[in-house]
């Protein structure tokens, strides 16, 4: 039986790969970053059970890496696809790591000695990494990579410190791009989403006010493995924040700055983050400004009820008009209307968290063109018939799952990932009986 190509190593791609590999199908998993794990690896906890995200994800990542039927291509992208279902020829471009993955033991010594600092993507920009770095402590594979745009050797022709300190002689500046050609029977796209950058919503001051964060940044801040070790030190002065405001629908449900749809998971992740704050420090004040409390998933309503009654999280229906910063203390004042009362009021906060929209990944256009499948008006992959064929692109043998075709939460992505595995297995079964 031919292998299957899975594009994207987030939780959806991991699940699709494991389902197929477990049944005996070879899988090529292509991931654009240095590690699989996706956004879920960045999360602290998951709602509504408050499971530690990396605790439940890391075993799956390792399982994926160790699975004899799965080949992971990190720092790679799909650049060519020809043929049809049962017989696709795929070109995968592997970008150089500049580190020999067979030799690197992930000890991190190179990173420790590297003189160049850059904002860490994994820490959502709140922490720093080096030019040679491990994506994150639980990265899979746990192999260092060189950011050639930052590395002094690649930019200025000096340094080579990492090469000198590497105890296993794994650094290899000469590594080249490599194109791998594969023949696969089906293709599964699971490329995920991005967070909306709220800098265009000027009245909220993101990018200008240091203590206005996005929810993903906050997720790192509250995480024990984050830049502050889980202490809510606000960025402006490191003061521990006890007074935190969440604003929903930032870049969602708007015709102007952002996208018109509801991003589906923000009400719940805000609730989760609010509960985390309360768990850290029960005397904290947490307010969530929302428009409609979207509690449509299993266990969601109970979770919100508990956040309200047990933890004392304050929910106010209203989309704040603006945030003002005190120029001296850098504390924030939020102007809002409690729309259930009809009064405009102000509330002060140490920190404001903007629950930003889940938006299409910027690379979707490129990939869709390669795969020959359509995107919708927003730039998500489009499913022709969401009722009867919820994971089919319309092109036989090419399937989508997870948030690359619209915002959805983890369990929906996981179930859909298995669904794409089923479709790929059907393709294989058909090929075998020669239909």
């Amino acid at each position: 039986m031919k292998p299957v190509l899975v594009i994207g190593g987030g939780i959806a791609g991991i699940q699709a790969s494991l389902d197929l590999a477990d049944r005996g199908t070879k899988v090529h998993l292509v991931e654009r970053t240095p590690s699989i794990g996706g956004v879920m690896a960045q999360l602290d906890k998951t709602f509504p059970t408050m499971d530690c995200s990396i605790c439940i994800l890391a075993p799956k990542m390792i399982e994926c890496y160790r699975h004899p039927n799965i080949t992971i291509h990190t720092q790679s992208e799909v650049v060519g696809l020809e043929g049809s279902v049962g017989d696709f020829n795929v070109k995968v471009l592997e970008h150089p790591r500049s580190v020999d993955s067979a030799k690197c033991t992930g000890c991190g010594l190179c990173s420790e000695k590297c003189p160049v600092k850059k904002p860490s993507t994994f820490q959502a920009g709140l922490g720093q990494r080096k030019a040679i770095y491990l994506a994150f402590p639980q990265a899979v594979p746990l192999i260092a990579t060189i950011d050639r745009e930052a590395c002094l050797w690649f930019t200025k022709g000096v340094c080579r410190t990492c090469e000198k300190v590497c105890p296993s002689k794994a650094v290899d500046y000469e590594q080249k791009e490599n194109v791998v050609e594969l023949n696969v029977s089906s293709v599964i796209a699971a490329t995920g989403f991005e967070q909306y950058n709220p800098k265009d919503i000027g009245e909220y001051g993101y990018g200008r006010y240091k203590n206005v964060l996005t929810a993903l940044e906050f997720e790192r801040l509250v995480c024990a493995s984050g830049p502050t070790g889980g202490v809510l030190n606000r960025p402006s002065d490191g003061k521990v924040s006890h007074n935190i405001v969440f604003i929903q629908c930032v870049g969602s449900r708007t015709q102007t700055t952002g996208y018109p749809y509801c991003s589906s998971s923000c009400c719940m992740y805000a609730t989760k983050e609010a509960v985390l704050i309360k768990e850290h420090e029960p005397s904290s004040h947490v307010t969530i400004f929302y428009m409609d409390l979207k509690t449509f998933g299993k266990g969601f309503q109970g979770f919100v009820d508990r956040a309200q009654s047990h933890w004392g999280v304050n929910y106010i229906r209203g989309r704040p008009g603006e945030i003002r910063e005190d120029p001296v203390t850098k504390s924030l004042t939020i102007l809002y209307e409690n729309t259930e009362v009809g009064k405009v009021e102000r509330v002060d906060a140490d920190m404001v968290v903007l629950c930003t929209a889940a938006v299409p990944h910027r690379d979707n256009g490129k990939l869709a063109a390669v795969l020959g499948v359509p995107l919708d008006g927003y730039g998500f992959f489009e499913v022709g018939d969401p009722v009867s064929a919820p994971v089919e692109t319309g092109k036989p043998g090419v399937y989508v799952c997870g948030s690359c075709h619209g915002p959805r939460d983890i369990p929906e992505s996981v179930a859909e990932a298995s669904a794409t595995a089923a479709k790929a297995a059907e393709d294989a079964a058909r090929a075998e009986v020669g239909q």
């Binding site: 602290d44 059970t49 408050m50 499971d51 530690c52 995200s53 990396i54 605790c55 439940i56 890391a58 075993p59 991190g108 402590p137 639980q138 995480c223 024990a224 493995s225 070790g229 889980g230």
Partner: protein
Amino acid sequence: MSTFEPNIVGFLCNWCSYAGADLAGVSRIQYPTNMRVIKVMCSGRVEPGMVLELLEAGADGVMVTGCHIGDCHYISGNLHTKRKFALLQRLLAKTGLEPQRIRLEWNSAAEGQRFANLVKEFTEQVRAVGPTPLKAPTPDAAKLLNTRAALAAADGFRLRALVGKEEKLVTEGNVYGDKVAQDEFTEAMDEAVETEFQVHRIHIMLQERPRSVKDMAKQLGLQPKAVLGYVVALRQRGWVDVKEAVEGTPLYAAQ
């Protein structure tokens, strides 16, 4: 005292706590060297008897860590850990050893710093209590006897059966759907712990040599009547019998 380095054993579950300990390592978070780790698949594997055995053998402290409640890799394993640890605490209280010598904590795979803090805190906690009185070659005989009795009680059928049934009886009810109130259960458990502890204490004493009820009562600081009750219970179990009578006083011995 300042040179005292406690000997500590830690039971870590494979999925959360052990991974959290690894994360502390990957993050190079420094902590004291005192704890020696035993990896188990689930903290629910840890029996009160295993911990008491280590204390008897001279451990200064024992820590058990598992996934946070609700996070258990095995769904509900740590709920049983919690119940078993509560039993362990009750038994430890009987021995005369300090309660600070044991600790149960939940630690996730993302909590590297927290794990390091826990080891540090617990090491200091045990250091503050001081060396175990049970360490050879000069152990405190009374506490050693108590610890052995607690260990035997922990490994005995009655307490194991009780603590094993606790989660179900308290949360779901028995086969007829009757739930037992937690405080009711706790009361029954307290009574059972006391009985089992005393019974085993007497049993161990009688394994050493034959003794009279009066003699044992004096040594154990109990009323002779109470000791007689336990001896009767032991006879019913077939573990002891009258060995001989000296001046009309029966001497009992272990079978």
